[in-house]
């Protein structure tokens, strides 16, 4: 365990996460043709007041568990990411913890899809499992590569190991794969096949009202947390001139988050079986080679 956690960080984390979600939603609306930044806010209020819809034979317990676990997992993952100097929950295995929490999304999507007792959400849920099996291995290898170069699973130590040179610079393959899997784990943009139009919106099809709001907020939270984790993993953490560490962390998080949000309106959705083929035949060997190179550099 690292140094003591400042009290303000515990209070600040939910606020920062909420801010990231809102700004990501606003940005997404702006990137949409004819969208205005206030649109998501209005939509959110509308969903809060909307009545819940129920399908016959729905497994409400599992569906609620799925919907709620999405934002909760994003929040738990955010707890080990250092905002500036120290994370809320300093952990010697922060990288693995982040990985474990982001895998919760598998369960969330499948449960939401299954619980609704409706065909299209179920198809979406299964699609995400297939997509998960495709993106998870390259993603893990990318994470391990960064941890290998730093010699630690602690996100703070990984950030500290990039004093001289950012990992994004000298392990570009791992960074690129990480960005791709960030899209995949938040089923966003080109990786949004589980929510694609050909299954009428997929997983959240039957969700209405606060459930729907929570689901989409959770998705944006995952995207934001994935962007925030890229900062200590590949972009040198809070290090930078003039500004304090937390400010640099935020600036870098936005530098990752904005392109991720932007990509949604620009790139078509990739079918998950095609992505699976690319992931297993191209991405896994590429990340393994990257890890080999990094390993050789570390050994020297």
């Amino acid at each position: 365990m690292g140094e003591a956690t400042p009290v303000w960080a515990v209070v600040a984390l939910p606020l920062v996460l909420a801010g990231l979600i809102c700004s990501a939603a606003a940005l997404d609306a702006v990137f949409c043709a004819g969208g205005r930044p206030a649109d998501p806010l209005r939509e959110g209020v509308r969903l809060l007041l909307q009545q819940r819809r129920r399908t016959r034979g729905a497994d409400l317990l599992l569906m609620r568990a799925g919907v709620i676990s999405l934002p909760v997992a994003a929040f738990l993952a955010a707890m080990v990411i250092p905002l500036g100097a120290a994370p809320v929950l300093p952990s010697s295995v922060g990288v693995v913890w982040f990985n474990a929490m982001e895998v919760v999304a598998w369960a969330s999507l499948w449960l939401t899809g299954w619980g609704a007792d409706s065909a299209f959400p179920l198809i979406g849920g299964y699609r995400f499992l297939a997509q998960g099996l495709a993106y998870e291995l390259p993603h893990m290898f990318a994470l391990i590569t960064a941890a290998l170069a730093a010699g630690s699973l602690d996100l703070g130590a990984v950030a500290a190991a990039q004093e001289g040179l950012w990992f994004a610079v000298w392990m570009p393959v791992a960074f690129a794969v990480y960005l791709l899997s960030a899209l995949a784990m938040a089923f966003w943009g080109p990786m949004g096949h589980p929510l694609a139009g050909d299954v009428a919106g997929g997983v959240p099809l039957e969700l209405a009202g606060p459930d729907r709001l929570l689901f989409f907020a959770g998705r944006l939270a995952l995207l934001a947390v994935a962007a925030a984790a890229a900062v200590p993993l590949f972009l040198g953490g809070g290090a930078g001139p003039w500004l304090p560490a937390w400010a640099w962390s935020l600036v870098k998080t936005y530098a990752v988050l904005v392109p991720l949000v932007w990509v949604r309106q620009r790139v078509p959705v990739v079918r998950m079986d095609r992505f699976m083929q690319v992931a297993w035949t191209v991405l896994i060997p590429a990340t393994l080679l990257q890890m080999l190179v990094v390993g050789l550099v570390v050994l020297d």
């Binding site: 295995v93 693995v96 474990a100 598998w106």
Partner: protein, 168 residues
């Protein structure tokens, strides 16, 4: 605080474990098992085993989701819509399980356990890594070969095209 956490997690782990065989819906059974694993992972965290604990959580989430696919695929009534009994030898199984638990519990209570030797290293995960890459290397190598063998064997078994594959 730790004691409370231990007992809460312990009761939850066993309770969810029992729920696996009590609920009708296969989806619920799978996720009851997952909850039991998460509680066990929490117990490992309590023991100061950060890496194995988090690894258990990570692996079990993925494993149970894959399991859910197979459950739904092979069970006759995955949703539990028509409750039916899928057990055999229930009494005997209960008796054997209870007997095994009683024997184990007696052994646990009666055995004079050795006292603690040594102290936990500062970073147990690091110690584990050094062990499997050093004196415990054969364990790692056997595990690696076993994983490879299982991958090949399970693909050969599960594929419908047999060993020789087919055109895409």
């Amino acid at each position: 605080m730790q004691v409370v956490a231990f007992w809460a997690l312990a009761v939850a782990a066993v309770g969810f474990g029992a729920a696996v065989f009590a609920v009708n819906s296969m989806a619920r059974a799978t996720f009851a098992l997952l909850a039991s694993f998460l509680c066990a992972g929490g117990e490992l965290l309590l023991l100061g085993l950060a890496y194995p604990g988090v690894l258990t959580i990570l692996m079990m989430i993925m494993e149970m989701l894959v399991m859910a696919v197979f459950m739904i695929m092979y069970m006759m009534d995955p949703g539990g819509l028509m409750p039916m009994s899928m057990v055999h030898g229930r009494r005997g199984a209960l008796a054997i399980a209870a007997g095994v638990f009683a024997a184990l519990a007696a052994g646990i209570v009666l055995t004079p356990w050795p006292h603690r030797q040594g102290a936990p290293p500062r970073d147990p995960a690091f110690a584990l890594g050094e062990a499997v890459m050093g004196p415990k290397m054969p364990v790692m190598m056997v595990a690696g070969v076993a994983i490879l063998a299982t991958m090949i064997a399970s693909v050969v078994l599960a594929t419908g095209r047999g060993r020789y594959g087919g055109a895409e």
